[in-house]
Structures are given as structure tokens and as C-alpha cells.
Amino acid sequence: MGVVAGVEAAVKRPLFGCRMCGQCVLHSTGMTCPMTCPKTLRNGPCGGVRADGGCEVKPEMRCVWLKGYDRSQRLPLLPQAWRDGFNHLHPPVDNRLQGSSAWLNLATKRDRERPAGWTADER
């Protein structure tokens, strides 16, 4: 892990439980890391959320997406675009970026690379 990635991990792990996927979408998920969902879902909650808000896989844990949904609505100071981003269709994870710095990938726009056949953004 590089220096920047090391610093990023040191900041984001305790704050968000960051898994260093290298393509951060926290801003559009109510500052709740979707990679902490046991299914690593990046496009919203699955149908297994329990009536008490518990996760399908870990019933004692509150569904990550339920938290994200609440926060995306309620967090003060969250720009409106970030709130609206909750409905954005995120492309599949690029698994090659695991462990790299999302900050650097943002700066270099590497995190915006899509597979050539990912046309959902155009639809």
C-alpha cells in the first residue's frame, strides 16, 4: 500500500469502516460505506432487510443501506447533489482497484473508467 493509501486507510477505516475498494461512493450513500454490506451491494438494499432493520446476513447489525438511506435524507450540510446521488446507478466494482487510494483514483479520474460495454449511464 502506498503512502497516500496508507493515510487514507488510517482516516477512513475508523470513520467509515472503509474497505479500500479504491472507488469511493460514500458521498452518494449517506456517508455510509456500501462495502461494509455483507453482500457488498453498491446500488441499494437487498430484499432481505428484516422488519426491525436488521441485516439479512448479520441480524444484529443494522442494514448498511438503511443507515445510508436515513443519513442521505437527514445529514446536515450534505449537498443536494449528494442526496440525489443515492439513486445513481453505480457500475460494477473494478476489482483491480482494491487496496489502492480512492483519493488518487479520484484525482487521476481512474475511478471514472468504465468497461467499454457499460452503457447504462447513457440510457
Binding site: 451491494l41 432481505g48 422488519a51
Partner: protein, 312 residues
């Protein structure tokens, strides 16, 4: 065009059903399971390792259904295969003329009898839908062409009975935006949740973007309801529903009554384009329920027309 797509495009009330899972018994078992319901179906779902239990694969069952003259809906879940395997199954299915593909996230491995398994979830339901759409547009996710582009009718699932309730329609819109054209709802024993979902679906235009088919479950006994309530995450069964089945002298009959009531309620809601049946019994529960509701067979629906009971 698949006949399911055709029915829905024509505004004809559609009936789909879950094909029971197949383990042993081969094609004879497929025929046996199909027989009591096939006359009523537009198409049957070939499920993908339901509740994280291994069964005959959806592609194999879909091919068998097609050979039996019943149109398949191949379900695909994201739990067991990565994107390459999912793309391969979609293209492989299209090779056999299978057009209907229903994309789900899938239960977790911990729901099944092999919880030691590695969970995949390389894609999620919305990105799987977008991937199927990409293939229908003539290319894999990589951009590599699939020529000629296969004809696909892509669907999805949503659970009106799972929190955050008020977000479920928005999530279905995301799936519609990704390319889904039909939506089979998760099993529900809470009519009020279905009603709220459908009202929002009509208000926000979801019912025009995707054809919505609520699921109707036909069970054998109250113990199945108790099991679902206790052990299937995302499904709640209100106590009065369980007590009502228990109170009756004949639980099989009481379960049929419940299904008929729930179906009649679903059919009374604006925006409902058809019904999806899930029967957990060997008898002709689906056919009986359709007859009691006055839903004609598929052939009769095509010949004489049968629109949605409520104008959409």
C-alpha cells in the same frame, strides 16, 4: 418477442409461476410439476438456487421448460457467479431461444444448507440488469460484440415488505433505468404494504415503465407461514393470518382461500399487470386459484382477450 412480453405489451393480464425446484427425477419430474399449472401460464420461472440451496441450474431447467412447450423466465442471482459466468448464462440461454431473464441479488449463502460457501456478489441486481441490457444491445460488458444481438426481455424483483419501505419504489425505478421491463414482487402477506407500493408505483410512473406482477403464495399449512415469518428475512407474516389458517378445519383449503383473497386484492389495485404464483404444494393449487378468480387459461386469454381487471 417472448409471449410474456407480447401479453404485457398487448395489455393482456399475465400469469407467471415459479417452477418448483428440480433435484432428482429428470425431465419426468419437470413434466409432473408443470402439468397442473401449465394451461394458465404465460411463462414459468426457472429459479436459481432458491434460498441458497443447490438445485438443477436455471439454464438447464429453462431449456427443459422450453422443450416442454412452456415459456421460461430464467432467473439469475448474483450470489453464486461472477459477471463472466452470468454473461455466459444469458448468452447461452439466448442460444436456446430463451428471452425472459429475471435478475435478482439473491439470498445470502447463510440462508442455505451450505453456509460454508463463498459468496460472490460481483454484480448486484441493478448492474446485472444493465449487463443483460448490454447483451441485448449487442455486446458484453467489455464491449466485445454479440452478433446478432439476442432478443431479451429483462425483468427484476423488488420486495415491498422490506425496509426502507418508502424507498422500494425508487429502487425499482433504478432497476427500470438499468433496463428492466417487468417486475415480479417478492412474496407478501401484508396487503397494506403491497397497496402502498402500488400506489407509489402508479403515482411515480413506475407501473408504466415496468409491468408489475405481485406474487401470490399457495401454501400447505400454518407451519409454513410460521417458518417464513421466523426464518425468511424480508418476509413478515402477521399473526392473525397464521391464526386464521390454524383455526380452520382444513388447512389446505384455508391456504387456498388465503391465496384467492390475496390475489383478488392484488388484482383490484391500479397498475397491476398480472400475477406471479408460487405454490408449495403438489396439487393444482394455481389452476384452482385462477379458476376461482375467473382468470381464463392462457389460450383463452389470447383468443378472447383478458385485460387488467382495473384500468392502468
Amino acid at each position: 418477442m417472448s409471449r410474456l412480453a407480447d401479453s404485457l405489451a398487448a395489455g393482456r393480464f399475465a400469469v407467471t409461476a415459479e417452477m418448483p425446484t428440480i433435484d432428482g427425477g429428470g425431465l419426468d419430474e419437470v413434466r409432473l410439476q408443470l402439468e397442473p399449472m401449465r394451461a394458465y401460464l404465460d411463462a414459468a420461472n426457472a429459479t436459481d438456487n432458491t434460498a441458497a440451496h443447490a438445485h438443477a441450474s436455471p439454464l438447464a431447467v429453462a431449456i427443459a421448460l422450453r422443450n416442454e412447450g412452456v415459456e421460461p423466465i430464467m432467473q439469475l442471482v448474483c450470489r453464486d457467479r461472477n459477471r463472466l459466468a452470468l454473461e455466459a448464462d444469458i448468452v447461452g440461454a439466448s442460444m436456446h431461444g430463451i428471452e425472459n431473464v429475471c435478475c435478482l441479488t439473491g439470498d445470502d449463502v447463510t440462508a442455505g444448507d451450505e453456509p460454508q460457501a463463498r459468496r460472490v456478489f460481483d454484480l448486484d441486481a441493478p448492474t446485472l440488469i444493465a449487463t443483460a441490457r448490454a447483451i441485448a444491445d449487442g455486446h458484453y460488458l467489455s464491449g466485445r460484440p454479440v452478433e446478432p444481438a439476442p432478443r431479451l426481455f429483462v425483468g427484476c424483483v423488488e420486495n415491498p415488505g422490506s425496509p426502507p419501505y418508502e424507498y422500494r419504489v425508487a429502487r425499482a425505478h433504478k432497476k427500470a433505468a438499468a433496463g428492466a421491463r417487468f417486475l415480479q414482487l417478492q412474496i407478501s402477506f401484508e396487503p397494506a404494504r403491497l397497496e402502498a407500493f402500488m400506489a407509489e408505483a402508479v403515482r411515480t410512473g413506475l407501473a408504466e415503465r415496468v409491468a408489475i406482477l405481485p406474487s401470490i403464495t399457495i401454501l400447505r399449512s400454518s407451519s409454513a407461514l410460521r417458518f417464513m415469518d421466523a426464518h425468511v428475512p424480508g418476509i413478515s407474516v402477521p399473526a392473525p393470518v397464521i391464526e386464521r389458517i390454524e383455526a380452520g378445519p382444513d388447512q389446505l383449503e384455508a391456504c387456498l382461500d388465503l391465496a384467492r383473497e390475496q390475489a383478488a386484492h392484488a388484482m383490484s389495485l391500479r397498475g397491476v399487470a398480472g400475477l406471479h404464483f408460487i405454490s408449495f404444494r403438489k396439487d393444482a393449487g394455481i389452476a384452482k386459484t385462477c379458476r376461482r378468480l375467473g382468470i381464463p387459461t392462457y389460450a383463452e386469454r389470447v383468443e378472447h382477450g383478458y385485460g387488467s381487471p382495473v384500468a392502468v
